[in-house]
Structures are given as structure tokens and as C-alpha cells.
Symmetry: C2
Subunit: 371 residues, 2 copies
């Protein structure tokens, strides 16, 4: 049975509104209040309403008050899609991250959202799951004028950047953070991984350590390569020897991988007295392994991590580490993107590279005595 029923209901104001219940009475068309309703109610044109709501200077304060009053009274909520459609501005930015539930990324996203919100933008997030295929899919979805600009942290798998180049060709503002493309120049926000690693390593040397080990990240990824380079550079600069046997690569820098690497390093013929780890999970793993072996930290072996994860101050001894300023990186990335979206003058600028200051946070795993 299929029927159509017309029901007439009185509405706020004088006009009457038609609600249509149709087809098994399933589709209740909840007719929303539009700018036209306000116009009718006040005997003004839609253009005046629109301008009044937007606080346009050409509209008298009196009318503005009137319009806002009625809008409130009728519970008017603007249709942002119609507005975006007409004005060609969505006030949306897209963010592609490998995974949201990784501490570093969630802090960066937090910074992006905080800055975007302040600037009147909102943030739509996508997880590439570190997959190249998925990343391309997402870029395709974002091609549709849905967002005014895009922030990306590259998927681990991504070695080809054509999908992003296409994006740039169609003039979509684009900013990369942390894991950025190596083979083409574009907007980037990074920390100085080389410098940070150099700093961390030199700190170990200053503590009198001479046989240094490194648990490195995936060496096809720029940032981890840089950290290894910084490690080596600091050793050589200080006239010490780089022991290649003490450099291990951990694909995902997970805690478990850290344990495995720690065992290998500690059982090596050259017994290290200092370990620099490419993140704090592996640093925590090294520390726990040393604890189990009753090796004194930092006296026998000192440990430095990277990123200042929450665990850095929970594991005992607390981990000396690099403050990677994730939240600030998010803010800086958001700021740069929105600048590119809004400022036409910036068209002259081809691209910008921002490098954030990092700092070494010294804790008990290298410096003070363990209590």
C-alpha cells in the first residue's frame, strides 16, 4: 500500500507550512527554516537577510538586530553546504595521517585542530594506515573541492608522489609534516632530526660514554635516516669510532622490537655503554632489559630516547629524550596551510620549509643517579 497524505501545520510567524508524509509515511521531510522564511517574515529580500547575518557594512544596525532577532526566534540555522557551494569556501581542511592512535600523530592533530578552530576552520581526518594505495584513494576523495587545503604525513609505503603533484597542479594548498617527500620541494614542517640526533649523541659522549649503539627506524624513511646520520656525525666529530655492529634497524620501533634489539646489542662482542634510540618505546625496552639484567643505568649503560612520550617519565629511570614538540608542529602546520589558503599574495611564494627547534630533556637514564 502506497499513499500520500498532506498535513497542514501552523508554523512560527504567520505563514503556514506544508509537511508531506509520503510512501508508507516513511520520509518525514523536516522542512528547515531558510533565509527565505526570514525574508518573508520581515518583508525583506533574501539578500538583505544574508548580508545582515554576515554583518555586512551596507546594512543598518537596526535591520541587523531585527534579522538576528527573528533568526533566533525561529531557530534559524544557516545551511553551510549551500553557503559553501555559492561562496566556494568550505572552511574545511583535510588531514591524512598514517594512524590516529599513535601518540605523536594524535598530538599533532590536536595542534592542527586547535589552530584551525581558532581560525574558523574545521578538520576532517583520514588514516592511510601506512598504505600507499589507501593514501591515493584518500587524495582522490579530497580532490572534490571538499576541503580548501590538505595536510599530510606520508604513509610508510609511499615512495611515489605523483598523486600529490596532481593535487598541486590543481592549486590545492598542501603542507607535509614530519614524514615529508624527499624528491620534490613543497611546503614542509619538520623538526631537525639530524641536529636532534647529534645533540642526543653528543650528550652521551659528554657523559663519558664511548661505545655507542643506535636502534634506528626504517631506513627508507627520511627522518630515521637523518637520525642515524646525526648519530654517526656526532661520534666522528668527537673522534670516536662508529661501531656498525651496534646499529640495528627496527621496522616499526615497537616495544617488542626494542626488546629484541636490546638483547642483540647487549650480547654483542663490543659491549656498548650508551644507547641512542629512535623513539621512546624502544628506549623503554632497552631500559627494562637492562633492569632485568641488573645493569646499572646510567653508570654502566646510558640510554637516550626520542619524542618524549608519556612513558618517558613513567619508566624507571626516567628517559632522557628529545622533545619533538608534536602539538606545536600541528599548530605550525595548520598556520602554514591556512596562510596559503587565505593569502593571495603568498602565491608569489613557491613553497616554505619550517624547521622547529627541538630540545634535549635530560633525565635519570643518562645523568643523575638512580634512587
Amino acid at each position: 500500500m502506497h499513499c500520500t497524505v498532506y498535513v497542514w501545520l501552523p508554523r512560527a510567524g504567520t505563514a503556514k507550512q506544508q509537511f508531506i508524509f509520503e510512501g508508507k509515511m516513511k520520509h518525514k521531510k523536516a522542512t528547515r527554516i531558510t533565509i527565505k522564511d526570514l525574508a518573508q517574515e520581515l518583508n525583506l529580500s533574501t539578500s538583505t537577510i544574508s548580508r545582515a547575518l554576515a554583518n555586512h557594512p551596507g546594512i543598518s544596525d537596526q535591520t541587523k538586530e531585527l534579522v538576528n532577532g527573528v533568526a533566533d526566534r525561529l531557530g534559524f540555522a544557516p545551511n553551510s553546504i549551500a553557503s559553501s557551494f555559492r561562496s566556494r569556501k568550505t572552511k574545511a581542511i583535510g588531514v591524512i595521517v598514517p594512524r590516529i592512535d599513535i601518540d605523536f600523530h594524535s598530538r599533532v592533530i590536536s595542534g592542527i585542530e586547535a589552530f584551525a578552530y581558532k581560525s574558523g576552520y574545521h578538520v576532517t581526518i583520514f588514516q592511510s594506515q601506512d598504505s600507499y594505495k589507501r593514501e591515493k584513494e584518500i587524495v582522490k576523495i579530497l580532490q572534490t573541492k571538499m576541503v580548501e587545503g590538505i595536510i599530510v604525513c606520508l604513509a610508510m609505503e609511499t615512495k611515489n608522489y605523483d598523486h600529490f603533484k596532481k593535487l598541486l597542479k590543481s592549486k590545492v594548498p598542501l603542507v607535509f609534516y614530519d614524514r615529508t617527500p624527499d624528491s620534490f620541494e613543497t611546503n614542509k614542517v619538520m623538526i631537525n632530526d639530524f641536529e636532534s640526533a647529534y645533540l642526543a649523541t653528543e650528550h652521551l659522549i659528554q657523559q663519558g660514554k664511548t661505545r655507542l649503539a643506535h636502534i634506528a627506524g626504517n631506513q627508507t624513511t627520511g627522518i630515521f635516516k637523518k637520525r642515524l646520520e646525526g648519530f654517526k656525525a656526532a661520534i666522528e666529530k668527537n673522534g670516536l669510532v662508529v661501531y656498525e655492529d651496534l646499529i640495528l634497524e627496527a621496522q616499526h620501533l615497537s616495544y617488542q622490537e626494542g626488546v629484541d634489539c636490546a638483547c642483540k646489542i647487549l650480547d654483542s662482542s663490543i659491549r656498548p655503554d650508551g644507547v641512542f634510540c629512535a623513539n621512546d618505546y624502544t628506549a623503554a625496552a632497552v631500559i627494562q632489559t637492562l633492569n632485568k639484567r641488573h645493569t646499572a643505568i646510567p653508570e654502566e649503560v646510558a640510554v637516550v630516547g626520542f619524542s618524549n612520550y608519556p612513558i618517558a617519565t613513567i619508566v624507571e629511570p626516567h628517559i632522557t629524550t628529545i622533545n619533538d614538540r608534536a602539538f606545536q608542529m600541528g599548530e605550525a602546520t595548520g598556520r602554514l596551510l591556512i596562510q596559503h589558503i587565505e593569502e593571495d599574495e603568498i602565491d608569489v611564494i613557491d613553497y616554505q620549509v619550517i624547521t622547529l627547534k627541538t630540545e634535549l630533556i635530560v633525565r635519570e637514564s643518562t645523568a643523575e643517579k638512580r634512587h
Copy 2:
């Protein structure tokens, strides 16, 4: 000086395209390919193009191929805003969380995004920063037909739900997770906090512990109240005594608060032999404090946490805890919301409450011998 210049450029296909540089030559109107261009190119109507691209059954396979071919060739990307505008479907869902950079929430969001993506939706996130004012602001922004449904984890401050009731009145599908409103019935996805706490506490009792302490969360928040109730219920059911002095409230359940509470509890006149903590940060704090005091875990004092954070398997001894299934909670929340968005039949259902199974993960902080 103000000038207008017309530049004619050849375009893919046979047609030519006009680019207009205007007003100090700042606004490059990058004219995109639209459905109309495709129509012109193929001598078809826009409706046919639209239907062909949408794989409408009324269009012949031959034309579909033709259309898709030209679309590819000209690099056509649909304008999703125009489409949303006309079809009244944005394929977007909004998520309001207290903070993104909290482990639990980032895992829930990850689950939401994963499910939404599979279902062809995208996710826009907002942080209420646990502020009631901010939460109301965000709800107002989301009123604008920008999203088809909303997922919320309440701000700590929120005690009044009028802003959400208004949302429901305008028929916006709404689902709460974890921190849900107590005073009105609506769609919710939760874990059984009472049951989980009961389970955790009973486990301590089974280990022969009789003087139990609890580090509780903010007692104006439902879930933490439930956890306390479960704790007490388990004790009473097992014929033991609830020591009110051993129950402390930590506003934010931070590591530092945990340390403070741990000291108070351990220095209390009734020396506890078991501690149930409302999250893993405070549990880690208790464990570290006990370690510093050289108190044997679990022999002298056993510890149970809540949520299974990464630190649970990093701190030594590893923490016995409740698996809160954050990712699955995200998936379930996303599924429920999208169901409500898409299924008209569901209109009959007023609201749904989903409770997820939890489990106790037994580790060394309660059971096995520490090595």
C-alpha cells in the same frame, strides 16, 4: 591600477577554455572541469552525464563507458559540495571529543574513522577541551547541515544537555560513547563499568587480598561513579569491609595525581594489600611508588588498572587491567550512527544502548611472581 586581461588557452579535447586574470592579476580563477563540460564534449545532457557517473540503470553501458572515458581524459573531479547541496547528503559525520591526544580517545576515533571510511563517510573532529562552553559552540557549528550525524563523548564540565536535546529535535542522528548523559535516554555505546570494576575487584579478593583501596575518577562523571560502585559491590558481596579511608578521588587521573594518592593510601593507618585504580596511569604511579618503597608486588600489595594503555606492559611488573576495547567502541559507535542515518525503518526505534564486553587481562601486578 586595475586591469582585466583575457587569456585564451587550449584545453584537453577540442574546446577552448577562458582564464580570467583580474584586479591586480591576483585572482586566478582556476576554472575546473564540470559536468557541463563533459556534456558539451559528448553532446549529451548534464542529466545523462550525472546518471552515467552514478552508474544509474537507465543509462546504457555504452554511454557510461564513453562518459567515464572523457571524464578521465579531461581530469574531471566531481564537485562534492554541489552534489551534497543538491542531494542533501554530505556523507560526513562529526565527532566531538574532550581531547584527541588522550590514548583512549585516539583509539576510539581510529575505530570510528575506520568504520566510516568503509561505509563511504568521512569524519570531522572537534575537541571540546572538556569545556561546556566550547562544546555548545561546536554543537552550534554542527547544526548547519554540515554533517549527517554526530558522535559525542561529553566534556567533563557538561551537566546540562539542552544543546543536545535541541539537536535531537531537529532530527540529527546522535550517538554518545563512554561519557554519556545520565538524565536522558538516547543512543549510547559504553562498556559495563560497574561489571568491569566488580570483576577487577573480585580478582583482587581471589588473590587473597582483604584490605582494598581504590583510586577513583571524578565522581560527577557517570563512568567513574559506576567503577566505584562496582568496587564496593564486589567487596560487600564477598563479605569484606569497605574502608572509606582507602577510597581517594583523582580529578584527572594523571600520573602525578596517582603518585599523590598512592602515598596517602600507603601511609594510611589501614595498610591496604590491594589497589584498584580507575585507569592505568594511576596504576602505574602506584606501582612505581611501591617499587621505590621496595614493597613486593603482588605479594604485599597487588594492583589492578583500567583501560590497557600501552604502559600497562611497559611498567614492571606489567599491570593487570581491564581491556576497554576502545577501537571496537569506535567501530560500534560509527556503525550505530550510520545505521540511524541510513535506515528509515530505524525511525521506529527511539534509541539504542550498546554495552560492550570487557575482559580482565591478568598480568604480574596481581598474579604471577615478579622476576
